[in-house]
């Protein structure tokens, strides 16, 4: 540890390399002067300027000086370290020098490009270079490290995202544990009737994939299960899974369904968005994988009152087991893919839309179930009084693009709204009104689908819905709902009488997203979805190394994007497994045990849980693999015992002195 804080060794030989970057730097800053001034400093052995330091000739200048002059600290004054630091680190590495004996002074982005040409810009460049020179004296070699990767992957959530990721990995003959909270995999996609823009039947494209999951010998499927604890780090996670008691022996059950048939107790079906009923022992839908029912302890009369056991009497396989208990299973995996999806927005709080009060106002997810042949009405659209609706209003952006609820766009609602127009026309031939703010049909084939639906005599009204009320002004047609809405194209308020209204509700982060984020140490963006490592360049990784996010848990998206992201994450996990090891960051905190006063302040501050207290030695210690080098601990340590490699106090203090004095 003392190498980090201790005084630098004696024979330090610094080489300074000032880049012209063509005219980019040289036209604003007097680069020759910068090199000259650097050379005047005692510690500097050689200072050169060159037209393109990043070119192979420029790199060779550095390489030669290291080899021939014995330069052992390098300062490059050029563009931002965010661009070429790694290139120059490689030059050091190839020349036999530890790459961390380099410091970059940013005289392009944060000097030449920011200021007018002249002595003040040159003066600033001089100061930045001097800061780098003073700093690099305090640099010491950092050992880079790698960890072995255990060849198994955990996928959390068995919607289309989790299914896709699991299959990609399993098809490469690598072990996957797929943990799904519900009794069956499938997620939201299993609830849909048709999928935009091609209108393929959702079950027809999803069921084969679900069956593949069941058949693939590399996939260990755990449904009705939840991840309760994750410890360890990239390459070596230890995961604790709770397998909830099904009260049905999975090994004995043959999936005949007699228990479901004989069960006398019914309750609302979650799968049917509470519009239909299911039994107390149930499989959520006919194509469920696995095809093994669960007994809902909250509804089963035997559990509630101690009498019944009808299912047990009829089960020939003797699979019913009321004594079953939750099981806790420990898994060892190298990578984790999170695919927990989304919840739909509950529109009850927008009371002017009447949801929950007016019987013929539905949410989009409910409408999906009403359209589905396996749904509560067998795919027939019906009003509360049993009549077929003659007109429908589809309301966009309910709970999305709304400062009161979610500011973001849910991305799929415009498209499924169009899908509903088409389905309604197909099923009833009735009138459809689309009440939209903006049409956003940006995917492949989406605009074409929009045009197709426009050709189907659908009425598009641009504006925001104000209210839905029950008192129809046009009672002769028997219509029950009256929509009051601003038409921003015609200018003015319009009243639309319809039989049925569908609220296209926002896609929201799961209600338990915070809990999952805590278990996995994931960040969340302002909208509440899990946060990716980089919004553009790394949308599947997270700041927790080895943990990836895919599908709607990262943000609202359609099925094609979900599948693409899932395959991308699978590729990342496979890459780790194939290489068998992972390099972890070199910039990590170190604790000087002789200074640690055992106050444990740092333990709680670390956002990655990388600091733990060693009771035996009575000091805090850093797990270098978990640490990301933010130095939050270092800044808080009252004893000054913590220092972050390459960003240590002595290095920064020296840099401060350099830029000022």
């Amino acid at each position: 540890m003392s190498i980090l804080k201790g005084k630098p060794d004696d024979d330090i030989k610094i080489g300074v390399y000032v880049c012209h970057c063509g005219h980019n730097i040289a036209s604003t800053v007097d680069v020759e002067e910068v090199a000259r001034r650097a050379k005047e400093l005692g510690e500097v052995s050689v200072a050169r300027d060159y037209v393109y330091m990043c070119s192979s000739k420029g790199q060779n200048l550095i390489r030669q000086d290291i080899m021939q002059l014995g330069i052992n600290r390098v300062v490059v004054a050029a563009c931002s370290p965010r661009l070429y630091e790694q290139t120059f680190q490689n030059v050091l590495r190839e020349s036999g020098l530890n790459p961390y004996l380099l410091q970059v002074a940013n005289i392009r982005e944060q000097c030449a490009w920011l200021h007018e040409p002249g002595p003040l810009a040159t003066e600033k460049a001089n100061r930045l270079v001097k800061g780098a020179i003073k700093r690099v004296i305090h640099h010491s070699p950092i050992e880079e490290q790698s960890v072995p990767v255990f060849p198994a992957t955990l996928v959390i959530g068995g919607g289309i995202a989790g299914i896709q990721a699991a299959l990609e990995i399993a098809n490469s003959q690598q072990i996957v544990y797929l943990v799904e909270r519900e009794p069956s995999i499938g997620g939201h996609m299993a609830q849909f009737d048709k999928t935009f823009p091609t209108l393929d039947c959702s079950a027809c494209i999803l069921t084969p994939k679900m069956n593949e999951v069941a058949r693939n010998p590399y996939i260990r499927l755990m449904t009705y299960s939840e991840v309760v604890e994750v410890s360890g780090y990239v390459g070596n996670f230890n995961v604790k899974v709770r397998r909830k008691a099904r009260y049905i022996d999975e090994d004995k059950c043959v999936g005949c369904g007699i228990c479901v048939e004989k069960c006398p107790w019914s309750t609302e079906s979650e799968f049917d968005a509470d519009l239909g009923v299911r039994k107390a022992v149930y499989t959520p839908f006919p194509q469920a994988i696995p095809n093994i029912p669960v007994i809902d302890k909250e509804r089963c009369v035997y559990f509630l009152k101690g009498k019944c056991r009808a299912c047990e009497k009829f089960c020939e396989a003797k699979a019913i087991n009321f004594q079953q208990e939750d099981l806790f299973i420990e898994l060892h995996v190298g990578a984790i893919i999170v695919a927990t999806g989304y919840d739909v927005f509950d529109p009850t709080p927008i009371s002017q839309y009447g949801y929950g009060r007016l019987p013929n106002v539905f949410t989009s997810l409910e409408f999906e179930r009403l359209c589905s042949p396996s749904g509560p009405t067998g795919g027939q659209l019906k009003l509360a009084d049993g009549r077929e609706p003659k007109s429908l209003a589809v309301i966009h952006c309910v709970g999305s693009r709304d400062q009161n609820y979610n500011a973001y766009c849910s991305r799929v609602c415009c498209m499924h709204s169009l899908k509903y127009s088409h389905l309604f026309k197909e099923k009833t031939g009735g009138e459809v009104y689309q009440i939209y703010i903006d049409m956003r049909c940006t995917g492949k084939g989406y605009e074409e689908f929009y045009e197709r639906v426009q050709g189907e005599h659908v009425r598009f009204i641009r504006g925001k819905l104000a209210t839905i009320t029950a008192d129809s002004p046009d009672s002769e047609t028997g219509e029950k709902l009256s929509l009051s809405c601003e038409d921003t194209l015609l200018g003015g308020l319009v009243n639309i009488p319809v039989d049925m209204a569908v609220l296209c509700v926002a896609l929201e982060p799961r209600h338990d997203a915070e809990q999952v984020a805590q278990i996995l140490r994931l960040g969340r963006s302002r909208d509440g979805f899990f946060m990716e490592r980089h919004p553009k360049l790394d949308p599947v990784a997270t700041m927790s190394e080895g943990i990836f996010i895919v599908g709607c848990c990262q943000g609202p998206k359609d099925i094609p994007d979900t599948v693409a992201q899932a395959s991308a994450a699978a590729a990342r996990a496979l890459a780790m497994i194939v290489r068998g090891k992972m390099e972890t960051g070199a910039i990590t905190a170190a604790i000087d045990e002789t200074l640690c006063s055992a106050c444990k302040v740092c333990n709680a501050l670390c956002p990655y849980g990388a600091i733990f207290f060693d009771e035996v030695s009575n000091v805090s210690r850093v797990n270098r693999i978990l640490c990301k080098g933010c130095n939050v601990c270092g800044a808080a340590c009252p004893s000054g015992a913590i220092s972050t490699r390459n960003f240590s106090e002595s290095q920064i203090l020296a840099e401060i002195e350099g830029v000022l004095v």
Binding site: Q110, A636, L653, L660
Partner: protein, 144 residues
């Protein structure tokens, strides 16, 4: 010669340093008085860094981090916020006028927030005149 303030800026690597780089890439112009020092996270700013800057002759210190909620280490900048509140109390007690120490969130695409912050602190400090550390050292000596 007119007074040219010397100001040190501490920028977190992920948002603020990227935002400052973007200012350069976009060729926005700002006062050449601020020297940036890169930290991994604004939450890693040790109070000694700020004091050291004044000790070595800085006339002002600018601290920049990601927008609240966007810190790449989840919540490092909330720690910065708390720490800076305390630190500003200390610096004021040491006789360092309030405008000389400034905290500004700069996101990776907020290039103008950076140049504006640079220009503002430069103007404010220029108006205050050079920071006289001798005076403060005597006063703080009395205090301790």
């Amino acid at each position: 010669m007119s007074f040219e303030p010397k100001i040190v800026a501490f920028l977190c690597n992920w948002c603020s340093y990227a935002g400052a780089d973007l200012a350069g890439v976009s060729r926005y112009k700002c006062a050449p008085n601020v020297m940036s020092i890169r930290l991994m996270c604004s939450g890693g700013l040790e109070p000694s860094f700020v004091l050291k800057a004044f000790k070595e002759g800085a006339d002002g210190v600018l601290v920049c981090g990601c927008n609240l909620g966007d810190c790449h280490y989840t919540d490092g900048n909330y720690k910065t916020l708390m720490r800076m509140t305390l630190l500003k109390k200390l610096t004021e007690q040491l006789g360092i006028e309030e405008p000389r120490v400034r905290l500004q969130w700069v996101c990776a695409s907020c290039a103008e927030d950076f140049t504006n912050a640079v220009n503002r602190i430069t103007e404010d400090v220029r108006a205050l005149g050079p920071y006289k550390k001798e005076k403060v050292e005597v006063e703080s000596g009395k205090n301790t």
